[in-house]
């Protein structure tokens, strides 16, 4: 009867979205008068999940699962849900979560709703609020199946401490890695990714050319931020596609989004709207981004950004 939650980890370390997912699962479990069972694949220090409200952890460890495999992971979560007779399965709306969730849903014949931003309004009927039209609206949706799969949006619910003693049990589901095989991974390990970043610094066409991206990178470095860009910037090849954010690019749901030389077209805003605080730096006071931002400086990026980087360095030095 418990709420089963998949906890994403990388290199054994649980991601912040895993802590958020457990916190959220605990919220649902409390509404339903039940407990939270976390599923951890090759995760170290699973005790940590108790801090957010998990009272049981099903630990799966197998070297075959070191690289993410959607079919196998989905199969494991579905088997855990069956074992626990779970009524609700929580999976985050991360890239991997979104890859596996539909497979879990079909396996469990469960209705699935991604991008959920709040606790259910009620659990019977089971109604959740989720973003649709790429953050331009929300939908309240009832999941009518016996088992429900909920995809939790990043950074929408938050992380809540809820110290619970954890019963750890090793779980040995059948592991079927299917016939999609990873042959190589090409990943910058020294950079903060847009998906995991608390802060994202993003540049647009106002930066005039790829040779000026040092401005963005320096600012990102002081802030420990990921770098991103508008669509034309990646279309022109100034920056890689993987940095393109917006409605047709990557979604951004960071705590802080700093937009530099970006006009704020509707497609751009849609993709970054889930960010909590938005700052815009633009020479044109009429740029639409000013209507969507929390803080703004009307000014030339080539003057403002180096100053900002410098002052932030001083600020960090003082507050270290």
């Amino acid at each position: 009867m418990s709420v089963v939650v998949y906890t994403e980890s990388e290199g054994g370390k649980f991601k912040k979205i895993a802590q958020e997912a457990v916190s959220y699962a605990k919220g649902i479990a409390d509404m339903m008068g039940t407990t939270v069972t976390a599923v951890a694949v090759n995760g170290n220090n699973t005790d940590e999940l108790g801090n957010y409200g998990a009272s049981k952890v099903l630990e799966v460890s197998d070297p075959k699962l070191d690289t993410f495999n959607a079919e196998a992971y989905a199969d494991i979560v579905a088997q855990a849900a069956k074992e626990e007779s779970a009524e609700v399965v929580v999976i985050t709306s991360s890239a991997n979560g979104k890859f596996m969730a539909p497979l879990v849903a079909v396996n469990l014949e469960a209705g699935y709703v991604p991008n959920v931003t709040e606790l259910p309004k009620s659990t019977s009927p089971f109604t959740v609020k989720h973003s649709v039209y790429t953050n331009k609206a929300y939908s309240h949706t009832e999941i009518k199946t016996a088992v429900k799969v909920v995809g939790l949006a990043k950074n929408a619910y938050g992380v809540y401490e809820n110290a619970t003693s954890v019963e750890k049990s090793s779980f040995s589901p059948s592991i079927n890695t299917g016939s999609v095989e990873v042959v190589s991974v090409d990943k910058a390990t020294d950079k903060v990714t847009i998906a995991d970043a608390e802060i994202v610094v993003s540049g647009g066409r106002g930066l005039k050319g790829p040779e000026n991206w040092g401005l963005i990178e320096d600012l990102a470095e002081v802030l420990g931020a990921a770098t991103a860009c508008s669509k034309p910037v990646s279309d022109m090849g100034w920056r890689p596609h993987s940095e393109h954010v917006g409605q047709t690019g990557k979604p951004v749901a960071s705590n802080l989004y700093i937009a530099i030389g970006i006009s704020g077209a509707i497609q751009h805003l849609a993709g970054i709207n889930a960010s909590k605080v938005k700052v815009v730096i633009n020479t044109d006071p009429e740029a639409p981004f000013f209507k969507a931002a929390d803080y703004g400086i009307v000014g030339d990026a080539f003057e403002v950004v180096p100053q900002l980087t410098q002052k932030l360095k001083e600020f960090k030095a003082q507050n270290a």
């Binding site: 079909v106 190589s184 669509k231 803080y295 400086i297 600020f315």
Partner: protein
């Protein structure tokens, strides 16, 4: 090789989103509908397989008659045949069941869908199709090559990419990168003329209940006005003390 491209019919990215009937229905007034951008990248890649490897390309949509202009556009871009499953698309799972039936009937080797639709943002239909048809599945696909029965796919991951080997039958959730923006095709006059005489089959739906149901839409709360500052010290101060994000 037989390819099916799943086409979602969505409001143009510039659309203002409004609702009617007490916020229970999407207001289509003044809204232009287009091929879902992720599907357009997939369709364009399918055209490459057609031209270079002799694949046949069908497109399918689950929806009412209003989606036919979008399917005709896909035919004008170069697809050979279109299929419309005549039912209202209510949720991802039921759409996936309809498409799975189309795939079983048509014996497709490769099914190309989008990473997500920009209206429902489900990101679920391709994955569900794969599971329902017992096919291999690659999501966030930014590169695809097929040789005989073997496929090499590139998948975008956080902070990089991954190269995968798999085989047909295969379903992908595609996005930009499958082809470049500059490869997208605007239908020309000849394509549009030809599209008129290409087959557009209307199929009856199978029994497939929706498992989720929208009860109400809601627009985000209007936001407060931007705070303009004229120097970076003030900005740092506000971000630290007021917004508490640094």
């Amino acid at each position: 090789m037989k390819i099916l491209v799943c086409i979602s019919h969505v409001p143009d990215t510039t659309s203002k989103i409004n609702f009617t009937d007490g916020d229970t229905k999407f207001d289509t007034n003044g809204v232009q509908f287009v091929i879902n951008p992720n599907d357009e990248f997939g369709l364009t890649r399918a055209m490459w397989f057609k031209e270079k490897q002799g694949a046949s390309v069908h497109v399918a949509n689950v929806g009412g008659p209003e989606t036919e202009p979008t399917l005709r556009k896909a035919l004008a871009i170069g697809a050979d045949e279109a299929i419309r499953v005549n039912t209202t698309a209510t949720d991802g799972y039921s759409v996936a069941k309809q498409l799975a039936q189309v795939i079983k009937d048509g014996n497709y080797d490769l099914v190309i869908g989008g990473r997500e639709s920009i209206d429902y943002n489900g990101g679920m239909v391709p994955g569900m199709i794969a599971k329902l048809t017992d096919s291999n599945f690659v999501n966030n696909c930014i590169g695809l090559e097929i040789e005989g029965n073997d496929a090499t796919a590139i998948r975008e991951i956080d902070g990089g990419k991954e190269t995968l080997k798999t085989s047909l039958p295969l379903v992908i959730g595609g996005q930009k990168g499958l082809v470049e923006e500059s490869d997208l095709r605007i239908p020309n006059m000849r394509g549009i003329m030809q599209a008129r005489s290409k087959p557009l089959h209307v199929k009856d739906p199978i029994e497939a209940q929706a498992e989720t149901q929208t009860t109400q839409f809601e627009k985000p709360a209007p936001r407060g006005a931007v705070k303009l500052v004229d120097n970076v010290e003030d900005l740092i101060n506000l971000l630290h003390n007021e917004a508490k994000v640094i």
